[in-house]
Amino acid sequence: MVKTISDGIVISPIKNGTVIDHITPGEGLTVLRILGIRDGTNVTVIVASNVPSSRGGRKDMVKIENRELLKDEVDKIALVAPDATISIIRNFKVSVKKTVEVPKQITGVIKCPNPNCITNTKEPVQSKFVVHPRGFRCQYCDSLISSEMDIGDYI
C-alpha cells in the first residue's frame, strides 16, 4: 500500500548524514541556503515542507546524506528555526541528537539590510551580526534587523 502524508512517512531514511527536524514551517529552503547548499549542488538532499509534526501543527524537515553538520553550522540554523533538532545518522541509526542555539555572533550568513553598508559592496568582507535584545545588529553599520522583521529575507 502506498503511504500518504497522513500516515506520517513520506521521507525515506538515510544511511549516513544529518537530519534537521522540527524546522519552522516554510523555512526548510532557507536552512539549505544557510548551509550553503544551493542550485547545482551534488549533495543528496531531501526537503519536506509543511508536513505534520508529532508535536502538533506543521514543520519542515531536511535530510542531507553523507554530511555531518558541525556545531557552528548547526547554530546558524537557529536564526530561522530555533526549535530545530539535529540528528547525526550513522548506519541508519541516530548517533548524536542535539538542539540549536543562536550564536552570539553570526559571520557571513546575514545580508545587511542597509544598501549603503560596506558589506554590501565589492569589498572582500563578510557580514558580521551580533545578537541584540531586539534582533541582530550589523557590526559594521549598526543597522538592526529587529525581531519583527523576517530574518529569512536577509539570508
Binding site: 549603503n116 553598508c117 565589492k122 572582500p124 568582507v125 531586539r134 557590526q139 549598526d142 529587529s146
Partner: protein, 303 residues
C-alpha cells in the same frame, strides 16, 4: 589590526573614561600646553572619499600643530580607486606610508573595515550616514567648556531621523549622569524607532516637543541641525517648517540664562545671523574646537 593598535571609530565603542580623557587632553591643547613636537616625524594619511572642508582641514591643522606631516589622498578621480581597487587594498597599501589614517567614506562601516585591515591606527572622519566621532567629541568639548556634562537638559532640533551628528551625540550624552534629551523635529524626521529604543535601553530620558517654544525654557543646550529640502514631501512643507523653527534673538528670550546654542555647521536658514553676536551662540567656537579635539585624538592614537 595589531593587538596594541588603537582606533577611534565610533563614540558608541568608547567608555566614558576614554571620552573624558580626550576632552581633558583637548582642553590642555586648547590652552596652548603643547610643544609642537609631540608628533614630530609622524605622518598622517588623510583619505577623504567625499568632499569635506572643516573635518579635513581641522585634522590637517591638528597634525601640523603637533609637528606632524600630512599625506593627502587628493582627488579620488586621480587615484587607483578609479581603476577598481578596493578600499581594503587601498588601506593596506597606505598603511605602509604613514603612522595613522583619517578616513571619510560614503559607505557606512567603511572605517570599521579599514580598522580591521590597517596596520596603523584609523580614525573615522565620517562614514556615510554612520559615525563621526570627532564631531561628537568636539560637541561634548564645547558643552563642557560652558557647563559640566551632568544633570542638564539638551534640546536636539532639526533632522533627527537622518542626522548622524545628533544620533552620535545622543549616545555620547547617554554615558553621562542625569541627561534629559528633548527632541524638536518635524513629523517623520524624529529619531528612528531603533535609536529611541537604544537610548531608552541605556536609561536616557527622552522628551518629545512639537514646538520649540515649549522646549526652550527647560534647556541648557540647544543643538540645531540643518534640514535638507529633499527630506520634505513638498517645498511648502519645507518652507513652513523652516519659518516656524528658525532660531531668532526674539525666540531666545524664552531661554534660561546660560543656555548655549550649538550647530555642527554649515547652517542655512536655521539660525538667524542676528543670533551670532549673542553670548549664547557657541557654534563658531564649536567649529574652532575641532582643532584641539583632533589634536587630542591624533596624539592618543599615534603616541
Amino acid at each position: 589590526m595589531t593587538h596594541e593598535q588603537k582606533n577611534i571609530l565610533s563614540v558608541r565603542d568608547m567608555e566614558r573614561e576614554e571620552i573624558d580623557k580626550l576632552l581633558s587632553s583637548a582642553a590642555a591643547f586648547d590652552r596652548g600646553n603643547y610643544t609642537g613636537r609631540e608628533l614630530e616625524g609622524k605622518i598622517l594619511a588623510v583619505l577623504f572619499f567625499e568632499p569635506s572642508t572643516r573635518t579635513r582641514m581641522s585634522f590637517s591643522a591638528a597634525m601640523m600643530r603637533l609637528g606632524g606631516k600630512i599625506l593627502n589622498l587628493g582627488s579620488v578621480e586621480a587615484t587607483s580607486i578609479t581603476k577598481g581597487e578596493t578600499l581594503s587594498d587601498t588601506i593596506r597599501v597606505i598603511s605602509g606610508y604613514c603612522d595613522a589614517i583619517v578616513l571619510r567614506h560614503p559607505k557606512e562601516g567603511a572605517a570599521r573595515l579599514a580598522g580591521e585591515v590597517a596596520s596603523v591606527p584609523v580614525i573615522n572622519g565620517g562614514d556615510g550616514a554612520g559615525q563621526h566621532p570627532s564631531q561628537t567629541l568636539l560637541d561634548l568639548f564645547t558643552i563642557r567648556e560652558s557647563m559640566p556634562i551632568e544633570n542638564i537638559d539638551v534640546g536636539l532640533q532639526g533632522d533627527l531621523r537622518y542626522g548622524r551628528t545628533v544620533h552620535s551625540l545622543a549616545f555620547a550624552l547617554s554615558k553621562y549622569n542625569n541627561i534629559r534629551l528633548h527632541t524638536i523635529a518635524p513629523d517623520g524626521l524624529n529619531f528612528p524607532k531603533f535609536i529611541k529604543e537604544d537610548l531608552q535601553d541605556v536609561g536616557v530620558e527622552l522628551i518629545v516637543h512639537d514646538h520649540i517654544e515649549d522646549a526652550l525654557p527647560e534647556l541648557d543646550v540647544l543643538y540645531v541641525t540643518r534640514l535638507q529640502r529633499e527630506r520634505f514631501p513638498d517645498p511648502v512643507a519645507f518652507a513652513n517648517y523652516a519659518s516656524t523653527y528658525r532660531i531668532t534673538p526674539e525666540l531666545l528670550e524664552l531661554a534660561k540664562p546660560g543656555m548655549i546654542v550649538l550647530h555642527p555647521l554649515p547652517r542655512v536658514d536655521e539660525i538667524d545671523p542676528a543670533v551670532d553676536d549673542l553670548p549664547c551662540a557657541k557654534y563658531f567656537e564649536q567649529a574652532h574646537n575641532g582643532v584641539p579635539i583632533r589634536m587630542a585624538m591624533l596624539n592618543e592614537v599615534i603616541n
